[in-house]
């Protein structure tokens, strides 16, 4: 077998592989809409609704005496919005986005530290009767 023949064969194989890959790709894109027919938003919405129910039942179980710490701790946990602020600050290339992200990181940090620490201070005061 001379080199020319080899090259021809290789070329033929490569073309075949290309065709196969194209076919596969076509199959993939044909299958994808079927698999992704459910918009990811729906999954997020499902999680959101379930979380509403969880919140409803968990919060009704909170004793009224601890309603103030409840508000303070919800301040702390809702500041998990810092996650979005951090991603904007760290991933963005736009200076505006970085600046907005930085402000949001700072504001959310006040709440995280303030919220959890003031809750801790309050809860430390709730003591039982000394017997």
């Amino acid at each position: 077998m001379n080199p020319n023949q080899l090259a021809d064969q290789a070329h033929a194989l490569a073309t075949q592989a290309d065709a196969l890959a194209a076919k596969l790709h076509a199959l993939g894109t044909a299958a994808a809409p079927a698999a992704a027919a459910v918009n990811p938003f729906v999954f997020l919405l499902a999680i959101f609704l379930m979380a509403c129910f969880v919140g409803y039942y968990v919060v009704w179980n909170v004793t009224p005496a601890l309603h103030s710490p409840l508000m303070a701790v919800t301040n702390g946990i809702s500041s998990v919005i810092i996650v979005g602020a951090m991603l904007a600050t760290g991933l963005a290339t736009s200076h505006w986005a970085m600046a907005f992200g930085f402000i949001a990181v700072t504001l959310a940090s006040v709440n995280i530290f303030g919220g959890f620490l003031v809750t801790q201070r309050m809860l430390a005061m709730f003591k039982k009767k000394e017997k």
Binding site: F48, V54, V59, N75, F113, A124
Partner: protein
């Protein structure tokens, strides 16, 4: 780190947050709950920090932001007086709202960071979610500032009402809706900021007509809003931790608002429309009853009566917080207990300026939580009490809520202090309470009015008990 692993960590953070709220079902488990909340936050922040593709200047800004914000937050949390808690919580709500506005602005400018399009070409659904998060966030921000100003005393607590107020609010609301549609259609920066400004104005206008003593509802409601704002942003940037937490907080605030409204027998709409407590009916009633006989006494009389009692129930209200009388009150209870008197505390759901306000103040003064009871738990016991010591509360004890269908507070659940043998009422004057209604109780033969500052009066009683 892979995106799936990061998402899993966010999920763990969310579960820890749920456990944090779960812990608050009892004081004994609450401290561990708070620790879980803190760990949840640590997990979420760390998972974000190791996100792929973060640039160095970004890290620098993040660390700087956390350092500045964190130290401010820590100092404030340490220094704040327990009586100032309601305004602190209001201030925190406004920060969550403002943070939501800025995250939305950042996402609009750098959508590729969250995979929601390219600058100027965001996905339509992302724009919808973003504008919802933005509007709620901005309303939470400005509404909480008004709540803060009213609670802090920078602004008068009276409701501020004017002609066509509700029409103006409705117009603003409609304009906001139109702008949101425009924003979703164009994705324009300018419209984004107009929405922000309009929502801020609406937040101010929504809260100014609501009076000081309705602040427990307002603070709870803004708590709920801050949660929904976080949720809106969570949907925009497709973050699990944010969506779940936002829903938890939103539900929590909504439940607290409901509990507070039920405690006053008013609908949330009635509270939100505002203007309560400005009725001139109160003044007329006061004039009509002007000449009725009121029995008043001094600290020695009160001390004598309490010393000879076998059961005393203390009913604290906002006046106790204002006078900072909780420590003197605990001292009084201790002295009485040494003399073999049984002392309990009864708390009305809307006592104070935020849910659970009185419980925290009593806990601060080292009152054991198992001596403090909620309305339903203790209402049957008033008939067996010899003395009820009402300190800084008024409307929540008014029997007119049960007997007078014309009273603005009719139907509101009250602490039935009138069933006790003697009612000692510490008050600065005969002025009516927030609802502007005369308290029938002042004129009862078994009521003794103790005029004076709540703290000073209680201290004088302690002295007279020591003799």
């Amino acid at each position: 780190m892979s995106a799936s692993l990061t998402s899993l960590l966010y999920l763990i953070a969310a579960v820890l947050f749920i456990l944090a709220l779960r812990g608050l079902s009892h004081p004994e488990t609450s401290r561990r709950g708070n620790l879980m909340g803190m760990s949840g936050m640590a997990v979420a922040v760390l998972a974000t920090l190791v996100h792929a593709g973060m640039h160095a200047s970004g890290y620098l800004l993040i660390v700087l932001g956390i350092a500045i914000g964190g130290s401010v937050g820590a100092v404030v949390a340490r220094r704040i007086a327990m009586t100032a808690l309601p305004q602190l919580v209001a201030a925190f709500h406004s920060l969550v709202g403002l943070a939501a506005v800025f995250v939305a602005a950042a996402a609009l400018n750098a959508p590729q960071a969250f995979g929601i399009g390219t600058p100027g070409h965001l996905y339509v659904e992302s724009l919808i979610e973003m504008s919802i998060g933005l509007a709620i966030g901005a309303i939470t921000f400005s509404g909480s500032i008004i709540a803060f100003a009213k609670l802090q005393g920078i602004m008068k607590g009276n409701p501020i009402t004017f002609m066509g107020q509700h029409k103006l609010n409705a117009t603003l609301g409609a304009a906001l809706a139109v702008l949101v549609i425009l924003f979703v259609a164009t994705g324009a920066q300018a419209i984004f900021w107009i929405i922000a400004l309009l929502a801020i104005a609406l937040g101010f206008l929504l809260i100014i007509p609501i009076g000081g003593a309705d602040m427990p509802v307002v603070v709870s409601m803004l708590n709920s809003y801050s949660g929904w704002a976080a949720c809106g942003i969570g949907f925009t940037i497709q973050n699990l931790a944010l969506i779940i937490t936002g829903a938890l907080v939103g539900a929590s605030g909504a439940i607290l608002s409901y509990v507070m409204c039920k405690g006053m027998n008013r609908s949330i709409i009635n509270v939100l429309l505002g203007g309560f407590g400005t009725d001139s009916g109160g003044a007329a009633a006061a004039a009509a009853t002007g000449d009725r006989h009121v029995k008043h006494g001094n600290a020695e009389d009160a001390g004598f009566i309490m010393k000879n009692a076998s059961k005393v129930i203390v009913v604290p209200g906002y006046g106790m917080a204002v006078a900072q009388a909780q420590h003197a009150l605990r001292e009084m209870a201790d002295t009485l207990k040494q003399d073999g008197v049984e002392v309990k505390y009864a708390i009305h759901p809307v006592a104070g300026r935020m849910p659970g306000h009185m419980n925290v103040l009593l806990a601060e003064a080292n009152v054991p939580y198992d001596e403090v009871f909620e309305l339903e738990e203790i209402n049957n016991e008033f008939s067996t009490a010899d003395v009820v010591y009402v300190i800084g509360a008024n409307d929540v004890t008014n029997p007119a809520a049960k007997t007078d269908p014309k009273s603005p507070i009719y139907g509101m659940p009250i602490l039935e202090v009138d069933k006790a043998k003697t009612v000692l009422f510490v008050k600065r004057s005969m002025a009516s309470g927030y609802a502007g209604v005369e308290n029938e109780l002042f004129f009862r033969p078994n009521t003794m009015m103790l005029f004076g500052d709540a703290k000073k009066m209680t201290e004088e009683i302690v002295q007279s008990l020591d003799h």
